[in-house]
């Protein structure tokens, strides 16, 4: 009966969404250059004409005296001076050096390496199949509200990740590739979008916490799981509703997510903080936390979709195959059904 009418065939819909999104971005790319002259400075932009400091290097004040005085001064003092229009603070120099040397480019290797490793796993070992095959019988795993909380977080997370990476990669990657004009448009869009979606993540995080805290406390059985590396390389691993990997991911999301929330709020509403050093630290922490979350999320997404047969069901329809439950969450299966997960006399097919 399900196939008679035009149902949400997910593929055409996602294709359409992808098409529309691509159209928006292509338009952006294609016409970005022509719009360069229409760019106006934002209302809160720094006015570069009002410079102070040693604009006349051969004047009365020596440059070294000026810099010495500046370094010893209030860290919140802004120095708008450099010919290319960059502003500085006393601490900003170190912050900028650290950010450009370590954050903006090097940390991006982490998700890249993760992608390669996951691709290798997929190619060499292939996805984890349900070894007993599907039983055709299902047991409920996630309620609708839990599923909605999960997908809500997922949508917000993916969007924040993409826009955040755009911001992070602007100078080292986008400007050389696309030029100043297009990069400027992209970063403006990404930053504003990131600002709008940011608070949603805080909400999502609290929702997720309330919905999934049960079952995510660590247990003795989790240590055995660690020794077998989660069965990624074979061997049976016992676990209850959530295994060690899932629990770690949960706590990582909650803890790192909290850091992201606090630092993100500081960056979005800087007048809440008012101390430049804290804001500088926030950008660094925010970037590191983001890359860590993105890297591990790739593994989460891989195992949840193509990496493990039957896993996606739990989040799409809320039910999982009995044999899947037996193999991956045997203790939870026993708790749910009252049957033994390993007893071959129990008929499950």
């Amino acid at each position: 009966m399900q196939d008679c009418f035009d149902h949400p065939s997910p593929r055409p819909v996602s294709q359409l969404a992808a098409l529309l999104l691509t159209a928006v971005f292509v338009l952006l790319m294609a016409t970005g250059g022509g719009f360069a002259q229409s760019v106006v400075p934002p209302g809160n932009a720094v006015n570069l004409d009002q410079t102070f400091g040693p604009s006349a290097p051969r004047g009365t004040e020596s440059a070294s005296d000026f810099w010495r005085a500046f370094r010893g001064g209030d860290p919140n003092d802004l120095l708008r001076v450099l010919p290319d229009g960059r502003a500085m603070t006393t601490t900003g120099q170190y912050w900028r050096a650290f950010r450009e040397d370590y954050i903006t480019v090097k940390v991006l290797w982490l998700p890249a390496i993760a992608i390669v490793l996951l691709a290798l796993h997929q190619l060499l070992r292939g996805p984890m199949r349900i070894s007993a095959g599907r039983s055709g019988k299902t047991i409920p795993r996630f309620t609708l509200n839990a599923r909605v909380a999960h997908w809500f977080t997922a949508v917000v997370f993916i969007f924040l990740g993409l826009s955040g990476l755009t911001i992070l990669m602007a100078r080292p990657v986008l400007v050389p590739l696309l030029g100043n004009d297009i990069s400027s448009v992209l970063v403006s869009a990404a930053l504003q979008g990131h600002n709008v979606f940011g608070p949603l993540f805080i909400f999502a995080l609290m929702w997720l916490f309330v919905k999934f805290i049960r079952g995510n406390f660590f247990q003795i059985v989790d240590f055995k799981w660690i020794f077998k590396l989660g069965g990624l390389f074979g061997g049976h691993v016992s676990s209850s509703q959530f295994n060690f990997g899932e629990k770690s991911w949960f706590w990582m999301v909650i803890l790192l997510g909290s850091v992201m929330s606090v630092t993100g709020l500081a960056l979005e509403f800087p007048w809440l903080i008012g101390d430049l050093r804290l804001l500088q630290a926030s950008t660094i922490l925010h970037a590191i936390g983001a890359v860590a979350l993105i890297t591990v999320s790739l593994g989460h997404i891989y195992v949840g979709t193509i990496g493990m047969e039957g896993a996606i069901d739990s989040m799409l329809i809320g039910e999982v195959d009995e044999n899947w439950a037996k193999e991956h969450h045997d203790l939870w299966y026993e708790e749910m059904t009252g049957k033994s997960a390993s007893d071959p006399t129990e008929d499950t097919t």
Binding site: M1, Q2, C4, F5, D6
Partner: protein, 427 residues
């Protein structure tokens, strides 16, 4: 004619009827539904099976599609651009047939949860017109229709059988019941279920009306209130069945026709009746609950000692939610029992018994009906020390008896008129 052509014709007949019955109201429903799925949360068939196909709005899909393809604004434009849904096929109609007949009581509970206020029950009724016209109707309902053609009663109750039951009740109560009394104020009609299953109701009427000094009668040609035409969804058949009652009442020149404790019968004659006949009646249609409530307020049937058992009231959908008689049964019960307790969700949001809208006359739907009764059983179960449930609908009553039996629950099921008659003051 080849099989292929015949098949196409059935689908064409159904679609033509769908379109004929898609009036501005149904169109506004189809064009307002946002597929939010809330209606599933109100439907006892979905709640008790968890099967998404029982989502009420889903049951309307073929009719909605026919509308979108042929009748909706811009449908011509969209058809030219290939944007309309494809034509409804016979195979699809057959797949939907159990959804339309077995899993919808036309109880209208889904309307209450719908943010758009869509009357899905009323639209299912219109949709059944298409199915009836294309002769895609469950066997059970067809059999009822056959009985009606022969005897006027879906259970095949003949006048001989009725007369026997009347005689029995006259003997029990000692009150004569006059048949075909010309010029009586009231003419009572009954559901077959009452006549054969609960004949005490005849005695109750006799006792109450004697007390009230009310002149009433029963017609020997039109005593049947149930209207299988409404259940199947065939306006011509519904009209034919109604015609008998209207003709008899107008021939006897009664002022009122009393609709019995039967859900759909009330809607069929009171609200749909004049529209089916295309004219207003020369008599007023009143429900027995309205009559009793009126007589009670006029002091003509004073209440006596109350029934002390712990009782609750089931709200038959077509009388309460879709019939408009919310307060009357409650005020009667207040006078009749001392330990009355409402069930959770009572009144207009109450659950259907699961057997309305022709489902109980459709043996194919038996399991589904019993499953749907779970919701009712849970409501009853939640009342501590419950001894009896008042069910002012003969059809609901049989469903209750089946359901309670299936659930192994021990509970007495009584009709409202009988209870009022039992608790009538002696003086």
């Amino acid at each position: 004619m080849s099989e292929q052509n015949k098949a196409e014709n059935r689908a064409e007949i159904a679609v033509a009827k769908f379109l004929e019955h898609t009036d501005a109201e149904a169109a506004s429903f189809f064009d307002a539904c946002v597929h939010c799925g809330e209606c599933a949360q109100a439907c006892h068939f979905y709640l008790n099976t968890g099967d998404p196909k029982y989502t009420p709005t889903y049951k309307l899909k073929p009719m909605e599609r026919a509308y979108e393809r042929h009748k909706a604004p811009f449908s011509t434009l969209k058809r030219m651009l290939g944007l309309t849904p494809s034509e409804v096929t016979e195979q699809e109609l057959l797949e939907w047939e159990p959804l339309v007949y077995d899993s919808c009581n036309m109880c209208g509970r889904c309307t209450l949860v719908c943010p758009m206020g869509i009357d899905i029950a009323g639209t299912i009724r219109k949709m059944r017109e298409g199915y009836a016209a294309a002769d895609m109707v469950p066997e059970g309902l067809k059999r009822s229709a056959e009985f009606v053609r022969k005897t006027s009663s879906p259970m095949g109750v003949t006048i001989k059988a009725l007369k026997a039951q009347i005689a029995h009740q006259e003997k029990d109560t000692g009150i004569p019941i006059e048949i075909d009394k010309h010029g009586a104020d009231y003419m009572a009609i009954f559901s077959s279920m009452e006549i054969m299953g609960y004949p005490e109701v005849l005695g109750a009427y006799a006792k109450l009306f004697k007390k009230a000094g009310l002149s009433w009668t029963i017609s020997s040609v039109a005593y049947e209130a149930t209207n299988v035409g409404v259940q199947i969804g065939s306006a011509p058949m519904a009209k034919e069945i109604l015609q008998r009652v209207v003709d008899a009442a107008e021939a006897l020149e009664v002022k009122h026709v009393i609709s019995p404790e039967c859900g759909h019968a009330y809607g069929a004659i009171r609200w749909a009746g004049p529209n089916l006949m295309g004219r207003q009646f020369k008599f007023e249609v009143v429900h027995i609950i309205e009559v009793l409530d009126r007589l009670r307020r006029e002091g003509r049937i004073p209440a006596g000692p109350k029934d002390g058992r712990r009782m609750t009231l089931h709200d038959p959908c077509q009388i309460i939610r879709r019939g408009g008689l919310l307060k009357e049964p409650r005020s009667l019960l207040d006078d009749s029992c001392s330990d009355f307790i409402e069930m959770k969700g009572s009144g207009i949001t109450n659950f259907c018994c699961g057997g309305g809208g022709g489902v109980s006359a459709n043996p194919r739907a038996e399991d589904l009906k019993l499953a749907a009764f779970n919701s009712k059983a849970a409501q009853l179960d939640a009342i501590e020390g419950l001894e009896a449930v008042v069910v002012p609908c003969a059809n609901c009553r049989t469903v209750f008896e089946d359901g309670l039996d299936d659930q192994e629950m021990d509970l007495e099921v009584i009709g409202l008129s009988e209870l009022v008659a039992q608790t009538l003051a002696d003086t």
